[in-house]
């Protein structure tokens, strides 16, 4: 049983949900504390996040940088719009590949769910084309990860 759901909504939204065994306070901290983020927000195997700068306050900026062993890298920059500990984060982000992608407006909710947390991420892209491109970029990275894992098994 998969704990994650991912679907498109309307022309410009992507909605992701995921349940966690830990309470909202812990999940919120794991999304705002750089030392914790660097442990899990890594994408495919083989990538690390050497730079994780977060100014966790409304109007504060953040920057995440990823690299792999081959020396490929990219980064994300963004600004926080709203932070409600430990229930809600609103931020705007863009990927630099190295040209910046259009802004992705993201609302993340952490709702108590029994003793755990239901996290809901709602992304709003400027238009349908940007959304399709973003999903496709993620797809390519995901496919790359599958190939790397497959190589490891052969």
């Amino acid at each position: 049983m998969s704990k994650l759901t991912l679907k498109t909504e309307g022309d410009t939204h992507v909605v992701l949900t995921r349940r966690f065994a830990a309470p909202p306070e812990a999940v919120y901290r794991a999304h705002t504390d750089p030392k914790l983020i660097q442990k899990w927000l890594l994408g495919p195997d083989g990538w690390t996040m050497p730079v994780c700068i977060i100014e966790a306050k409304p109007g504060g900026k953040f920057r995440y940088e990823w690299v792999n062993a081959k020396g490929d890298g990219f980064y994300i920059t963004g600004e926080f719009v709203e932070l409600q500990p430990y229930s809600r984060i609103v931020h705007i982000e863009r990927m630099h590949l190295p040209d910046p992608t259009p802004d992705n407006h993201v609302e993340t909710r952490f709702d108590a769910d029994g003793t755990g947390t239901l996290m809901t991420i709602r992304m709003t892209l400027p238009d349908a084309k940007t959304r399709a491109t973003m999903l496709a970029t993620g797809m390519e990275r995901g496919m790359e990860a599958s190939y790397v894992r497959l190589e490891g098994m052969l």
Partner: protein, 113 residues
């Protein structure tokens, strides 16, 4: 129409064609309707549509002088797979986060004891 896998992958390699598929996922559309959000000429869009049609991802029907396009079964499956692959990549992150959260909980308990 048969699906040629190589042609399907080639067709999906282009962001405009992926966006056209995403638009058709919402329902049938004419060339004019498809061209509108892309800031492209109709011939350019028609060329993309031909690639998608040859790959078996979309189909067209005749309606007077128009030929509205819609997703073929293979196109619908491609869209589903697309989300499934992305879902898998995200799951890797969140499985890692599960471990981080479990470690945090153990550390909290350690402090109170």
């Amino acid at each position: 129409m048969e699906t040629n896998l190589d042609a399907a992958f080639t067709a999906l390699a282009d962001p405009t064609r992926r966006a056209i598929l995403a638009r058709l996922a919402k329902g049938e559309a004419t060339v004019n309707q498809l061209a509108a959000p892309f800031d492209m000429t109709q011939p350019a869009i028609s060329q993309h549509l031909k690639v998608l049609e040859d790959a078996g991802l979309i189909i067209s029907r005749v309606d007077g002088t128009k030929r509205p396009r819609s997703l073929a079964k293979a196109g619908i499956e491609a869209m589903d797979q697309w989300l499934a692959i992305l879902r898998k990549a995200l799951e890797t992150n969140y499985d890692r986060l599960d471990h981080v959260l479990a470690t945090m909980e153990r550390q909290e308990k350690g402090k109170t004891r």
